[in-house]
Structures are given as C-alpha cells and as structure tokens.
Amino acid sequence: MPDSAVQEKALLDKPRLTREQIAQRAALELPDGAYVNLGWGIPNLIANYLPKEITVYFHSENGILGMGRRARPGEEDYDLIDAMKVPVTLIPGASIFHQADAHLMTRGGHLDVAVLGSFQVSEKGDLANWKIPGAKGSGGIGGAMDIAAGAKKLIVCMEHVARDGAAKIVKKCTYPLTGLACVDTMVTDLAVIDVMSEGLVLREVARGWTPEEVQKLTGAPLTTKGRVPEIHLPRVLPGLLEEK
C-alpha cells in the first residue's frame, strides 16, 4: 500500500465525481433539522443540493444562524455576508449574534454537522486543512480549528488524491494539523469513508471503481463491512435552495 506516491498512473485517468457531485453526495449526510456549518470550497456548494424534503439551518461563524440563498444581483447587503464575504439572505427564523457566541456554537458541540475541505486526513481522523508546507505568505486559520474541535459530526469533502498524485488520505499527516482525531466521514471524488475506532471504513465507491482501486489511491488501510455499494447521486435539482 502506497503511503503517498501512487504507483498505478492508469487509475488517475478514470472518471471520478466532479466537485459538484462530491457536494451532492455530501448533502445526503445532513439530517433533517440539522444545524450545519459549511467551509470554503466544495463544502460551500452543498447548499445547492439539499434534498427537497429536509430543512437544515446554516451557521456562519461571523454570527448568523439561518443563512438562506446568496443575494441576487441588486439585492446585496454588505452587512449581511457569509464567512466567505459573499452577500447572503436570511430565512425566516434566522438569528444574528456576535462572533464569540458564533464560536461558542462551533466549539461547544452545538453544531450537528460541519463540512470542511482538507489537504490531508489521517487514518485516525486528524485534519490538515489550513496550511500548505512551504507556501509563501502568512497563511490563515480562520474558524477551522474551533469547528474541527467542536462539531458533533465533521465531514471532509475533498479530492481523493492531490494534483501531483499524492494520497491525501494518509497514515499520518505531513501537512500542518488543524485538529486531532476530529474527522468522522470523508466524501471524496472516489469514495465515502468513515473514520472508526478500528480505522478507515470504506462505505461507498464511485461508479466504476472497485474497493481495491480506491485502496490503491489511499495512503492508509481501508476496511469494508460486507459489499461496498456505489455512490448513488439523486437527480440533480440545481437551484433548489433558490426556490425555498
């Protein structure tokens, strides 16, 4: 099993889930009524793919609970933005509070689910998502460490393998850590993987992929519990959140 370098180049050319599809699959992990924080990148796309029959309440670390869709052109209010500085709207029943209360929610175990992007995740669920070793500039932590430490369930959405072919799911993170043993589930362009006390459990694989192939692109051992089904993506209903 490769720790970081991937031997079989051929695998890298097989079709995978798009970023939108990763978000779509991750959306199915959100239970009805959940309070949810979505991080930068792929996680932020999840709001577009919520199943119609469920309601979730989006939290933003700058002090919003109950964020709605993004503001339409002309509707923007720059005092009402999400953590990515994007003007948003509020749903009925939303609330506004200060940043300390916003992070009391993240750190205090009040969020049901948080979804973050990541550079690496270890087999123990260690998260490394804030800094690329050797990158120039100051870097920035933002709310990720508080969220990682406190969410009841932490889901990571990311590509399974880095652009250079290196495994992102590893035995031990080599990137600067965000938090220890905090990731519960990974949704990648190849698989859904749960971090369990016994190690990484492969729950689903992308269409056309076998567990063995996914293992070859994974830097830590995967176990399975019986047959591993393919990732099932419901019919895409883009702009669902828009209609609510």
Partner: protein
C-alpha cells in the same frame, strides 16, 4: 423534522430521569420556569442535582421540589433566606450544597456551553471557595482553577418562542436563562407566548434556536414568594 413544540408540560418533562442534573433559570422571583418545576413535582422525579442561583422562596420556585425531597444536591450562589424547605433539608443533611460565587456560576456554565475545559479566576482566592481547588499565579495574580458545569437539562423561562426555538426574555427575567440554555444537553423552555416563525427580528433574538430543544407554552403561574 422533529417538532420542538410540545403540547403539555407533563409531556415535555416525561423523560427526565431520577438523578438528572438540571439547571433552573431565574433570579429573585423573575424568570423562574415555575410551570416546568411544577411538572417535575407532579412527575415525582428524585435525586435531582439542581443548578440554580436560589433554592426557592417558601413553596415557590424550587421550594416545592425541596418540600417533596426531590433534590439531593445543589450548586447555587445564594440559596436565600426564604428557602425554608431547602434549609430544613440542608440542616437534616438530606441535601448537599456547593456554594459558588454568582458570576463564577455563570462562567462555569458558560465554559460548558462554549466547549472550554476550565478557567482561572482571582474570585474566591483565599476564601472557602478555593478549598480543594488548584491555585497558581498568572500574570502576577493568585488564581484558582474553576471547572465547567454541565447539565443534562436546562429548564428555562422565556417570554416569546417561535416554533424553531428562538427566544426572547422579558426585562430582568432574562438573568440566568440564556446562559443555561446554552449549557445543557437538552434545553426545555416554557414560553409565555408562541409566536410565528419570522416574527422575532433576527437581530433581537436573545437565545438562538440552536440552543433550544423543546418548547411548551405556559403562562400565568407566578410566585411572589
């Protein structure tokens, strides 16, 4: 989606087990969840650990629970001169008490709410409150280590609630209620008024819905003590 609004007081407290740790909002007669307390009395739960500023005013507030010997341990700042039922149980050693400075009581609950594991304070240094606590000097000041207070339930009293669980409080009936709402695993609010979702201005919500797990409408029960 699981509804937060319950139709009766008895239903909303039905699963509170004997031995539960329960926070009770209220200060000096204002903001006590008297209807929920009465429901606990009807249910007859035993061996409760109560976290509350006061220990009742005669039969009012927590007084009724002490009268029925339902509470075995109290964490409080000011049990109160008119908490006669508590004082009798305390004198008879049927109830134990941890006395906590009022602001530290707030902070220990807030630490639990905020996912903090403990904090240092100068409050209580050199007093009985410091007994058995770690002491050290930080930034040139003698401090003691205070630990979070967690609870299974918070019983709180709100003025308005929407069905998502957003709350407001009336005047100084706010007191401990927003802190306890954040600190417990299950927060149950009795609200004077149920209002439509969206009718509370988002910037005026005093307790965001994320902290409130059950709501029951109840109005009118008042103990002047």
């Amino acid at each position: 989606m699981k509804k937060k609004v319950y139709s009766s007081l008895d239903e909303v407290v039905a699963d509170v087990p004997d031995g539960a740790r329960v926070m009770f909002g209220g200060f000096g007669g204002a903001g006590f969840p008297n209807n929920l307390i009465q429901a606990l009395v009807r249910k007859g739960v035993k061996n409760i650990t109560a976290i509350s500023n006061n220990c009742g005013t005669r039969d009012g507030e927590l007084g009724l629970m002490f009268k029925h010997n339902q509470i075995k341990h109290v964490i409080a700042s000011f049990p109160g001169p008119h908490a006669n039922h508590f004082q009798e149980r305390f004198a008879a050693r049927e109830v134990t008490l941890e006395l906590v400075p009022q602001g530290i009581l707030c902070e220990r609950m807030r630490a639990a709410a905020a996912g903090l594991q403990g904090f240092y304070t100068t409050v209580g240094v050199g007093t009985e409150v410091a007994d058995g606590k770690e002491e050290r000097v930080l930034d040139g000041k003698r401090c003691i280590l205070e630990m979070p207070i967690h609870a299974d339930y918070a019983f709180i009293k709100a003025q308005k609630a929407d069905e998502l669980g957003n709350l407001t409080y009336r005047l100084a009936a706010r007191n401990f209620n927003p802190i306890m709402a954040m600190a417990a695993n299950t927060t149950i609010a009795e609200a004077e008024e149920l209002v439509p979702v969206g009718s509370i201005n988002p910037v005026h919500v005093m307790t965001p819905a994320i902290f409130v797990h059950r709501i029951v409408q109840a109005k009118g029960l008042h103990y002047a003590g």
